[in-house]
Structures are given as structure tokens and as C-alpha cells.
């Protein structure tokens, strides 16, 4: 049962049960929808990015398991105040950690609290069938950033 306690840590259970930044902020200017066809989990990520490319606000709505809701909730907390480049770096780090490519994960630039939280979420790598639960929000966030970026280019 030790393994399970590693996955379902207090912070995961807390965020899974009482997600932070849950909702659709009026000012959101970058959004994307994600879903996991295997289990039916859905998520909408809402980002409010200012003129300098800094994330002022991050929120989400959706349905899913404790892992996916906690991951989305913790992600929105981590994103606030970061630049687009930082957010993409977080996504890549998270993806590397969850898929067992720790060597490619660059945690050096992250503050201790963020690094700890990412390691907690990455506990899911022991459960290959659940990795997508943890990474869904992050993929969706990255998509929100990129899709808006394309629009920017076309403008």
C-alpha cells in the first residue's frame, strides 16, 4: 500500500477534492479543450495572458479523476506570473518526469516548491495507464498557448 500512498498524497487528494482556480474567468484570452478518449475525462483551460506574454491568470473547468483534477489545479497555481516560455518549459519538464525521462527534466531553474509539486504529480509514472490523467491538463495548456500564438502570427 506504500506505493498508493505515494500516488495519492495529501496534496493530491486535497486538490482533487477542492480544486483551485476552477471556473471560466471573463478575461481569459487563451483557451483550449482537452479530453482523454480512453476514460472520458474532459478539461477546458483558460489563460489570461497580458501584452508582455505573462500569464496573469490561469483557471480550468472539467471532469476527471483525482489525479487529473489535482494536476490541473496545481498547474494553474504554478502558471500564474510566468511567461509563455516558462510555461512551455514547465510543460516539457512535467511531461519528461511523468513519462520516465527524468534525465531530460530540467528542474534546476525551478523554485523548490514548484519542483516538489511536480515530483509529487510525477508519482503517476509508476502507473503507466494513468500517466495521461496527470498530463492532460498540461497538454491542454500548451495547446492553448500555441493555438493563440498561431492567431497572433496570422494577425
Amino acid at each position: 500500500m506504500n506505493d498508493l500512498r505515494d500516488l495519492y498524497q495529501e496534496v493530491i487528494l486535497d486538490h482533487g477534492k477542492s480544486p483551485r482556480n476552477f471556473g471560466h474567468p471573463d478575461g481569459a484570452n487563451r483557451t483550449a479543450h482537452g479530453h482523454n478518449a480512453m476514460c472520458g475525462d474532459t478539461i477546458d483551460v483558460f489563460l489570461t495572458v497580458d501584452a508582455d506574454g505573462k500569464i496573469e491568470d490561469a483557471a480550468f473547468e472539467g471532469q476527471g479523476c483525482a489525479i487529473s483534477v489535482a494536476s490541473a489545479s496545481m498547474m494553474t497555481e504554478m502558471l500564474k506570473g510566468r511567461t509563455q516560455a516558462d510555461a512551455h518549459h514547465l510543460f516539457e519538464t512535467m511531461h519528461a518526469l511523468c513519462t520516465g525521462h527524468e534525465d531530460e527534466a530540467d528542474l534546476a531553474d525551478l523554485d523548490e516548491d514548484t519542483a516538489d509539486r511536480m515530483q509529487i504529480l510525477a508519482g503517476v509514472r509508476q502507473y503507466p495507464m494513468r500517466v495521461k490523467c496527470a498530463t492532460l491538463a498540461w497538454h491542454t495548456m500548451d495547446k492553448a498557448m500555441n493555438e493563440k500564438a498561431k492567431e497572433d502570427i496570422s494577425v
Binding site: 500512498r5 495519492y8 487528494l13 477534492k17 476514460c39 472520458g40 476527471g64 479523476c65
Partner: protein, 422 residues
């Protein structure tokens, strides 16, 4: 002939009631451990485990008799052809079909339904026509019809279920009318376990001149199916859920219907004579079996049918009902557990959700205790929408399931509550 039918000791114990521990000993995989715990396999509705008789029959066939079928003149080709056609005859008897030529071998039940859609459906459905499905269908009995609808422009109507998960016959009767050409229904719901009143629905459909296709994937495992008594026009099931191998499925069709249907796929083994100007096709069932079929798997399926017959379907059904009733009673006594699907007529499936724990979290925690259940939408999105859930956890029971395994499930659900502090 299976090992079971040649072993007198093996045979005699079958006559003295149902000894589930002896049955379990026939399934090698059941003795393995998962995460250091004894395997409690409660996912047989997704795919059942295989008895030694099936495994050995397939191995022995490949070691001693294997060759391609129907075309060879040599000794082994004859042996293989005989065994393959004997398997077809066995399936026909299993379903009580009028003759072996009413049995088409496919890859799985999904392919069986697609065969009916692409062959019978393409020929017989068009604008102004209607087909009737039910709210609890597996995607395999929805999507092939939607794909054909996009091409042919007929209408799909959906028969609703009540809150117990049983089909509403009164509403179904209203949906089936003179424009109805096909009624395609599950015999037993894979997500809820509901056993549908197929005979009544067939009667309604036939009264309007509609053809009935029955998805029998689950029912073929838990019920004694008699296609003539049901008067079903098409009946589909898969070998792998019936303790046979994957890669083999069955489509039963009334011969007159099969005879009037065009080929589904073209190729070898389904033709009568080929010239570049014109090709003529074989009679059913061979018309629908293009290319080399799943020979070994068909023979494995026949061994599974022998194994089941040897155990006595009545004793198996009684045993499964007993385990289902026990597990239902114990699970429903747990605070916070909701069982979805409470119809009076039910097969050995329990779909449930827990307040405060998502089905995937339940399944992960159960798995760590060796308890294998399914979590998700069970390939039935419309049914999940009707139930108002995104996913359920599903425990399904089989002829080798025990009350002790139901206890293990209940204990594991208790662990979910402890971890989630529910």
C-alpha cells in the same frame, strides 16, 4: 474433443454439482499473482480467461494438424478443413441454429455487426427508412449504423431505458413502425448487465416487417441462447468473451437472409469463378469469409464451447447468479457506493460509482490489491450520458468467480474509502 471429455475423473466430478475450485484449476492464469497479491479477475466481460482445454487444443492443432483450409488436396489441409468446419457445426449447435451454413466466422462481434451493416444494410436501407437501436448499446452497435447513415440517409431512432437500466418496451413499441427496417439491440448490456426482453422486441419488429440483429457478446456467455426460439434474424458474438481465443467472432444469420446478401469483402475462398469480366461468389457462409480465416482460433472457440457444455450451462448460470447476488448485496451495503443497473433480469455485471472517488482512481487502488476491474465508459458514451456519469467501475463475474473474490472486491473498495478518507 477436449481434454475434459476424455478424462473420466474430470467428467465424473461435473455430475456432482458445481465445484468452483476445481473449475478454477482449469484456468492456469488464475493461479498467478498481481502486485504480490492473488489475482482477483473481475474483468471477464471485457475478455474472459482461457481454460487449459482451449490452450491445449489450439497448441495441439498447430503441432499436429495445421494447414490452410478448403483449397488443399493434401492430408493436413483435409484435417484442418474438417476441424474448421466441425467448429462451425459446433457453433451452430451452441446457438441452436437450423444449420451450420448459417454461421459466418468473423474476427469479432464488431466485425459481425459491420458485416450486416455493409452487406445487408447497404442493400436494404435508404432515405425514408428507419432503424431502431437502444440507449444502452455498445459503440459497436451504434457507430457502424451511423457510418452507413451518412451514406444512405436513413434515420436512427433510439429506444430509451428506465432508471433500472431496462429497456422501456412501451416506448420501444412506439418507435417501431412501418418504416422500421431494422432493430439492432443488445441481448445483455455490457455496462449494466441488463438482460433485454429480446423475444418480445423481435415479435414487435417482425410484426412491422423489420429485421432484428442481436448483439449477443455478453448474453452468449451467461445465457443459453436459442436463436430459433428468439427468432432473431442475426446474432453476433465474440469468442474471447466465451473463454475462447481473441480473433474469432461469429455472425449467425437466417439462411434466406444470408443468401440474399452481397459479399462484404472480396478475395480468395469466397468466390465461385473469377474472370476479369465477371466473378461469381460462393454460397453463404463462405461468401462472407474472404481470405484465410482465423483457423486455429475457430478450433479454439469450439474447444471453449465443449468446455462449457461439459460444465453444464445450467450449473454455471446458477453459480454466476449466486456470486452476483452476493456481491451486489455486499457492495450495496457500503455507504457511498451507487450501483448502476438494477433491472430484475440481470447478468453477472455490477457497474458502480463511489461518491468522492472517480472510477479510474477506484480501479487503480483495486488493482494494487490484485483486483482487476474495468473503469471508464465501457464503450457506451450515450448510456453514460443517460446515467449522468462520465465513467463507472465495473466488476464482472464469470464461471470461475467466487464469493471470496466478491469479498476481496468489497475489502478493496474499503481501501479506496480509507485512501480518499470517505
Amino acid at each position: 474433443m477436449t481434454l475434459a471429455s476424455v478424462d473420466p475423473v474430470h467428467r465424473s466430478r461435473r455430475n456432482s454439482g458445481y465445484d468452483v475450485e476445481r473449475v478454477r484449476a482449469d484456468f492456469p492464469i488464475l493461479s498467478r499473482k498481481v502486485h504480490g497479491r492473488p489475482l482477483v479477475y473481475l474483468d471477464s466481460a471485457a475478455s474472459a480467461q482461457k481454460p487449459r482445454a482451449v490452450i491445449d487444443t489450439m497448441s495441439r492443432f498447430m503441432e499436429e494438424d495445421y494447414a490452410n483450409i478448403h483449397r488443399g488436396v493434401h492430408f493436413l489441409s483435409q484435417r484442418s478443413t474438417d476441424a474448421f468446419e466441425a467448429a462451425r457445426a459446433k457453433v451452430a449447435r451452441f446457438l441452436n441454429a437450423a444449420k451450420a451454413d448459417e454461421i459466418v466466422f468473423t474476427r469479432n462481434a464488431t466485425e459481425s455487426i459491420n458485416l450486416v451493416a455493409q452487406s445487408w444494410g447497404r442493400k436494404n436501407l435508404g432515405p425514408g427508412d428507419e432503424i431502431v437501436l437502444t440507449e444502452l448499446e455498445h459503440h459497436a452497435n451504434i457507430v457502424p449504423w451511423q457510418m452507413l447513415r451518412a451514406e444512405k440517409g436513413f434515420e436512427i431512432r433510439v429506444a430509451p431505458i428506465d432508471d433500472t437500466g431496462q429497456i422501456r418496451l412501451d416506448e420501444t413499441a412506439k418507435l417501431i413502425g412501418p418504416r422500421t427496417k431494422l432493430v439492432a439491440i443488445s441481448h445483455m448490456s455490457n455496462a449494466l448487465g441488463t438482460i433485454l426482453p429480446v423475444r418480445e422486441i423481435v415479435r414487435m419488429a417482425h410484426a412491422q416487417g423489420a429485421v432484428v440483429l442481436v448483439d449477443g457478446c455478453q448474453a452468449a456467455v451467461h445465457k443459453q441462447v436459442d436463436v430459433q426460439s428468439l427468432d432473431a434474424d442475426f446474432y453476433a458474438f465474440s469468442g474471447h468473451k466465451l473463454y475462447g481465443p481473441s480473433g474469432i467472432g461469429v455472425l449467425y444469420g437466417k439462411y434466406a437472409l444470408l443468401e440474399a446478401m452481397p459479399p462484404y469483402q472480396g478475395g480468395g475462398d469466397m468466390i465461385d469463378r473469377v474472370t476479369f469480366a465477371r466473378t461469381t461468389f460462393k454460397e453463404p457462409p463462405h461468401r462472407f469469409e474472404a481470405g484465410t480465416p482465423a483457423i486455429v482460433e475457430a478450433i479454439g472457440l469450439a474447444a471453449a464451447i465443449d468446455y462449457l457444455a461439459d460444465l453444464s450451462p445450467v450449473l454455471v448460470a446458477d453459480h454466476e447468479d449466486e456470486v452476483l447476488a452476493y456481491a451486489t448485496e455486499r457492495l450495496s451495503a457500503i455507504d457511498g457506493v451507487t450501483i448502476h443497473g438494477t433491472a430484475a433480469e440481470k447478468g453477472a455485471i455490477i457497474s458502480f460509482t463511489m461518491a468522492g472517488a472517480h472510477a479510474h482512481d477506484i480501479a487503480t487502488i483495486l488493482d494494487q490489491q490484485g483486483v482487476a476491474v474495468r473503469a471508464g465508459h465501457h464503450c457506451a458514451h450515450p448510456l453514460m450520458d443517460r446515467l449522468g456519469v462520465t465513467a463507472t467501475a465495473r466488476a464482472s463475474f464469470a464461471l470461475y468467480s467466487t464469493k471470496a473474490e466478491a469479498d476481496a472486491l468489497v475489502e478493496a473498495v474499503g481501501q479506496v474509502k480509507r485512501i480518499f478518507k470517505l
